[in-house]
């Protein structure tokens, strides 16, 4: 079973490497690049909302700040483009601290409303601080990324860079999820009082989760900005935040594989459905809703099903066994 899984993963990997060489269609390449960006953002969101259970509806704001930070740096200050990357991390770090703070005071819907507020304020400031951000007319002529004089100026080149980054970040995310961090994030979601009682500083961890979410989000924004070449505030609206949550939900909350599947599906499905013309967006929304209602554990759960059933039987057997053991002890 495991071997099949690994073989499958290698196959997908090879296909992805070969894809832009086999398919020269710029549209397809560009779409894949968007997929990579979205994967990165969703994996970040997964830390805070998927694992820690803190409802974050402010992804658009995070993403926008990451995008604008780099865009403004290199168009206004003419800094080298790659600087945007550390800057994105720094901005993410700062946002994480800032957004993490409210999460210490409010939970659940209250937090989601706070994050909505944050994201809307960011958008309105980007729209209105015209001298600084270019306002609603946006920032144009954003240069492409370049590294050591090599410019990533075609979707083909961008593809490999973003693919590589997405893989690195996915590995990092997967490791975090399956490590003590992921575990303790989930524990906070289940019962934060008990986590405190285990000597763990919940405040710190929530901020850590927010920070990682924001760093991933800002890296996503950074990559987005240098792929687009032009940004304006209208794209960073509530709909975008929601879209990322939808990706996470459809893929499977809490799992990196799920995040990836969700990002792929939500990015590509509407494009695939374009042939339905006038109806495509409706159909897409209906499909999303159907997934939410009928596949609450996300697409990943389709792959895990057989495992889970086995486990159910196990539970019963081991409980029975344990009870027998207890009974045995009592007898003597």
């Amino acid at each position: 079973m495991k071997k099949i899984k690994i073989a499958l993963m290698v196959l997908v990997f090879v296909l992805l490497i070969a894809f832009p060489m086999l398919d020269g269609n710029l549209y397809h390449q560009q779409l894949m690049n968007q997929v990579f960006v979205n994967i990165i953002v969703v994996m970040g969101l997964n830390f805070i909302t998927g694992l820690t259970g803190q409802m974050n509806l402010g992804t658009a704001g995070i993403f926008a700040l990451g995008a604008y930070a780099s865009a403004l740096m290199c168009t206004k200050l003419h800094t080298p483009v790659w600087i945007g990357f550390p800057i994105a991390i720094l901005v993410g770090f700062l946002i994480g601290r800032g957004l993490g703070y409210p999460s210490l005071r409010v939970k659940g819907v209250y937090l989601s409303l706070t994050t909505i507020g944050f994201s809307e304020v960011v958008r309105l400031i980007l729209t209105n601080a015209i001298d600084f951000t270019g306002g609603s007319q946006g920032v144009q002529n954003i240069p492409f990324l370049n590294l050591f004089g090599f410019e990533f100026n075609t979707p083909f080149k961008i593809y490999y860079l973003y693919f590589g980054l997405a893989i690195i970040l996915a590995i990092a995310a997967a490791r975090v999820v399956s490590s003590k961090w992921g575990r303790v994030f989930k524990a906070i979601r289940d019962n934060s009082d008990a986590v405190e009682a285990c000597g763990i500083d919940v405040a710190n961890l929530k901020i850590l989760a927010f920070t990682m979410a924001a760093i991933y989000g800002c890296i996503g924004g950074f990559l987005y900005t240098h792929m687009m070449g032009y940004i304006n505030p209208t794209a960073f609206n509530q709909d975008l935040s929601v879209n990322y949550l939808v990706m996470m939900m459809i893929g499977g909350i809490g799992s990196v594989a799920g995040n990836i599947l969700g990002a792929v599906m939500v990015t590509l499905l509407p494009e695939i459905l374009r042939f339905m013309q006038n109806y495509y967006w409706l159909i897409f929304s209906i499909i999303t809703l159907i997934f939410a209602v009928f596949l609450p554990n996300g697409i990943v759960s389709l792959f895990k099903k057989s495992e889970r059933q086995e486990k159910h039987f196990n539970i019963f057997h081991s409980i029975k066994k344990a009870t027998e053991v207890w009974g045995g002890r009592l007898a003597k």
């Binding site: 909302t49 409210p102 409303l113 706070t114 939808v246 939900m249 809703l289």
Partner: protein
């Protein structure tokens, strides 16, 4: 002076619209513990049903249209509750419920676009006109809104505090299992709540037509502002919602005196964040546990 008074009056008028939206989602929140992120779309849908179908297309007199729209939205609310809200609320993570409502909103707006077409319209001579007091002007429809939202809050407050069904709705939010054991039909209750909220949305949708005109994004802004006014008024506390809405409306207008008017929308969100963090009990100081 005159312009300050006018700003207050317009702010109050707008504030009551925010309050109406706030009432609607407080209602859903109080009894299901869900936030309906598609309420702006419900409002929009009902405006289309009322104005687009009943008044314009079928030529019914508005009074009849009102009743017909309430009926249609009653059924719509019921379908949505049974088909979507009920399954979503029982899911492990509240993310599903939130996302479900958002996606539902998208579906509604696409349906509206496909059914009624994308062209904005309005109802001429429906609740139009203004009243004038000295130099202070207030729209006729605003007066309607103020009266109706006050009545609505009073009625809902009595309903929640005194009637059994109202209390049952609060029980359902707090502990579904225990509610069942008291003999409360939890699913029916949720259906009832959603239907009620759908009706309140219909009232809002029909009232704002003269001010907002009918188009697919007509209620986007008040959807979010409604949340702010609810928070400012003390989450889940009905009389507070009106206070919150009016406070927000007036403050927004006052902000235009000192700030560029384009920052007006910021005021609502900043205020909401401040209240959430600093005074979660709202301006009336209603105590309630944060969950």
């Amino acid at each position: 002076m005159e312009s300050i008074l006018q700003l207050i009056v317009s702010g109050v008028a707008m504030g009551f619209i925010y309050a109406l939206v706030g009432i609607e989602y407080t209602l859903v929140w109080n009894s299901t513990g869900l936030l309906n992120f598609s309420h702006d779309k419900f409002i929009m849908l009902s405006a289309y049903i009322f104005a687009g179908t009943f008044v314009v297309k079928m030529g019914l007199p508005p009074a009849v249209g009102v009743i017909a729209s309430l009926l249609v939205m009653f059924i719509f609310g019921m379908l949505v509750a049974v088909g979507i809200f009920n399954p979503l609320r029982s899911m492990a993570s509240p993310i599903f419920a939130v996302m479900g409502t958002v996606v539902l909103g998208r579906i509604i707006s696409e349906m509206v676009r496909l059914i009624w077409g994308p062209i904005p319209f309005t109802l001429p001579n429906y609740l139009t006109g203004t009243y004038q007091l000295g130099n202070i002007i207030i729209g006729r429809v605003n007066v309607w809104i103020i009266v109706i939202s006050s009545l609505l809050v009073a009625a809902l407050q009595i309903f929640f505090k005194t009637t059994k069904t109202g209390k049952a709705m609060r029980c359902v939010q707090q502990n579904k299992k225990a509610a069942t054991l008291m003999g409360i039909d939890v699913s029916k209750n949720i259906v009832f709540t959603i239907v009620l909220s759908s009706l309140v949305c219909t009232v809002i949708g029909m009232l704002v037509i003269p001010l907002f005109t009918v188009d697919t994004s007509m209620a986007n802004m008040i959807g979010l502002k409604g949340f702010s006014s609810g928070v400012i008024g003390g989450f889940g506390y009905l009389p507070g919602v009106i206070a919150g809405g009016v406070f927000l409306g007036v403050l927004e207008n006052f902000s235009t005196i000192v700030l560029p008017a384009v920052y007006k929308d910021c005021v609502g969100f900043v205020l909401m964040i401040i209240f959430l963090l600093v005074r979660p009990s709202g301006i009336l100081g209603h105590r309630k546990n944060l969950r």
